[in-house]
């Protein structure tokens, strides 16, 4: 009796663990299905001409997605340009250069940085960055895509640092010893040996940082000015712009459930979802190809 009870329990626990293991797939599918059900009616309600238009003003039925798409991509690109050099630099310093005590201080601080709520960062952005950037760069206003990119960069740095640092740390000690023994300087060892060896992890770090940046909402909404302008050139980064995430956040509270505007906001959600899907697939494809090449070399 007792044994069979325990067996039962085991079967139960095993299946619970199994279900939670597969639940990630289930959640993604359910979320995707939900987005599709709420978002796809857009295609029947809004003409493609309107949807690819240059004006977003939903209370008058202008649903052009170009300004939002352009805004999101531009801010994310700017954020990556800020975060990648900074993040990789920090990761390399922590993993390769810093003495033990500095590493032990820096790592927790980077993790605390990851915990700073983005609203707080947005406040700092409004009070500190916005007025200074306007004067410094002589812009009409400091509420620009660039301000958002700086904050987003700051938000993605911890992600990039911790993933890249783990990847660099995982490179076997013998690689570095061999390089140094052959007379390479520390810089040459880092640049030519350690970093390439950790390449797949580093690319994952950048992609995760990218994902963090494109999905971020609050800080961006507070400092980019949210003007739905189609960016004409990369210089539009220094003008106000409006991202997809800020649009959803700012407008979702107001819409009547089931209205066209509501469906379009979900459609924007689908676009965001697809973008992050592409980013993730690209990242894993790169990692996969790298691994295959590494296996080929080793065999």
């Amino acid at each position: 009796m007792k044994v069979s009870w325990r067996e039962w329990l085991e079967v139960l626990i095993t299946s619970i663990i199994k279900v939670s293991g597969y639940s990630a797939i289930l959640f993604v599918l359910v979320i995707f299905l939900f987005l599709m059900i709420e978002g796809l009616p857009t295609l029947g309600e809004v003409s493609l001409e309107n949807l690819f238009g240059r004006r977003w003003y939903p209370i008058e039925d202008y649903f052009g997605l170009l300004p939002l798409l352009g805004g999101s991509l531009l801010v994310t690109l700017g954020a990556i340009l800020v975060a990648v050099p900074f993040g990789l630099g920090t990761a390399i310093y922590i993993a390769e250069v810093a003495p033990r005590w500095a590493r032990e201080v820096l790592k927790p601080f980077v993790e605390i940085m990851a915990g700073v709520p983005s609203v707080v960062l947005g406040f700092i952005g409004i009070l500190v960055f916005v007025p200074r950037l306007r004067v410094l760069l002589d812009l009409p206003t400091g509420l620009t895509g660039f301000t958002g990119a700086l904050l987003l960069g700051f938000l993605s740095i911890p992600t990039i640092v911790s993933v890249a640092e783990d990847a660099l740390d995982a490179v076997p000690r013998s690689y570095r010893d061999a390089a140094l023994a052959l007379g390479a300087t520390q810089w040459q060892t880092i640049w030519r040996v350690t970093l390439p060896a950790a390449r797949s992890g580093v690319i994952t770090a950048v992609m995760l940082g990218l994902g963090r940046a494109i999905g971020e909402t609050m800080a961006v909404m507070m400092v980019t000015g949210n003007a739905p302008v189609v960016p004409g050139s990369p210089l539009a980064l220094f003008a106000p712009l409006r991202t997809m995430t800020a649009t959803i956040a700012a407008e979702m509270g107001e819409v009547a459930t089931g209205s066209t505007h509501y469906h379009v906001l979900f459609f924007v959600g689908i676009v965001l979802f697809l973008i992050s899907l592409v980013v993730n697939i690209t990242a894993s494809a790169v990692v996969f190809r790298q691994r295959k090449r590494a296996e080929r070399i080793l065999s």
């Binding site: 279900v19 003003y57 206003t141 509420l143 700012a250």
Partner: protein, 294 residues
């Protein structure tokens, strides 16, 4: 095997959710503390909070919870049955009436206070008067340098509330389109849409290029209020309790509270109190314009 287990969980969850409204809709709540949910217009949120605080101190058995979010948010919540009273800084739209009607109730409107929208610029900006037409042209992008309205040679940065703000819709209809029904003027796409009054105040305070608008109750001394004339040649007026009440200041509006269906005893008592001298004194304190002005 896996799917049936999941299905059972889903069904259990559905059953659980079915319980919630039933217990909430029970005839008598176990405690004698009664509650009113009040939500909506961000313009009115401070006012509604003050009313609620004062009224609760007079009626210890009552709890009133006040949240903002925008006029549309409040009315949507009223239509969904999650609040008792919705605050709105614009009158209810026909599709919103339908949304409330879909639950078998008719929204009932109360004018609880009056408000004026102040046009604000940076204190260092020499411009101190504008006509409605000039403000409309500035926001639609026709005028984009302060030189054109008698100021310095600076670009104009226009600031607005987000489109879900009642103030935004009011400004679009009454200022940008000058109250003309068939006028289809839109905000220039360059207009910055800021999610809060504080955001607009902060940017106008710091940026000599900026122009913004905000409820009179939210104007601080850090920004400069501009006098407005209804048309060129007519006198310019600063917004104040007097100019709003004698209808000389052109950008003023009513602030509303809505209930779904005729208010019940509790709601009616609260609304009556708001209309009393005591309630309207709070309106005045916060820089809005009271209804029963002498």
């Amino acid at each position: 095997m896996r799917i049936p287990v999941f299905m059972v969980l889903v069904i259990l969850l559905l059953l659980l959710t079915a319980c919630a409204p039933q217990s909430a809709a029970g005839e008598e709540l176990p405690s004698d503390i009664r509650t009113l949910e009040n939500k909506g217009s961000d313009t009115m949120v401070n006012l509604a909070l003050q009313w609620a605080e004062k009224y609760q101190s007079l009626n210890p058995g009552l709890r009133i919870s006040v949240t903002g979010g925008g006029s549309g948010t409040g009315i949507t919540a009223l239509a969904n049955g999650t609040v008792d009273i919705a605050n709105a800084s614009r009158s209810i739209k026909s599709e919103e009436i339908e949304a409330v009607a879909a639950r078998g109730q008719e929204p009932v409107e109360f004018v609880a206070a009056r408000d004026a929208i102040a046009i604000i610029v940076n204190p260092n900006n020499p411009v101190d008067r504008l006509t409605m037409q000039q403000i409309s042209d500035i926001y639609s992008g026709e005028i984009n340098n302060w030189l054109e309205v008698g100021g310095e040679d600076r670009p104009i940065v226009t600031l607005s509330r987000e489109t879900n703000s009642g103030t935004h819709v009011y400004f679009l209809e009454e200022v940008l389109r000058l109250g003309e029904k068939d006028n289809k003027t839109l905000f220039s796409p360059d207009t910055l849409l800021l999610p809060s009054s504080e955001g607009i105040t902060a940017e106008v305070r710091d940026n000599p290029n900026a122009i913004g608008y905000d409820g009179l109750g939210y104007v601080t001394h850090e920004v400069k209020v501009v006098a407005v004339a209804a048309a060129p040649g007519e006198p310019y007026y600063y917004p104040s309790i007097e100019t709003v009440n004698n209808l000389t200041y052109p950008i003023a509006r009513d602030l509303y509270m809505y209930t779904a269906g005729q208010p019940d005893e509790l709601e009616q008592a609260y609304l009556d109190w708001i209309m009393s001298d005591e309630g309207q004194a709070i309106v005045k304190e916060l820089g809005f314009v009271p209804i029963l002005s002498p």
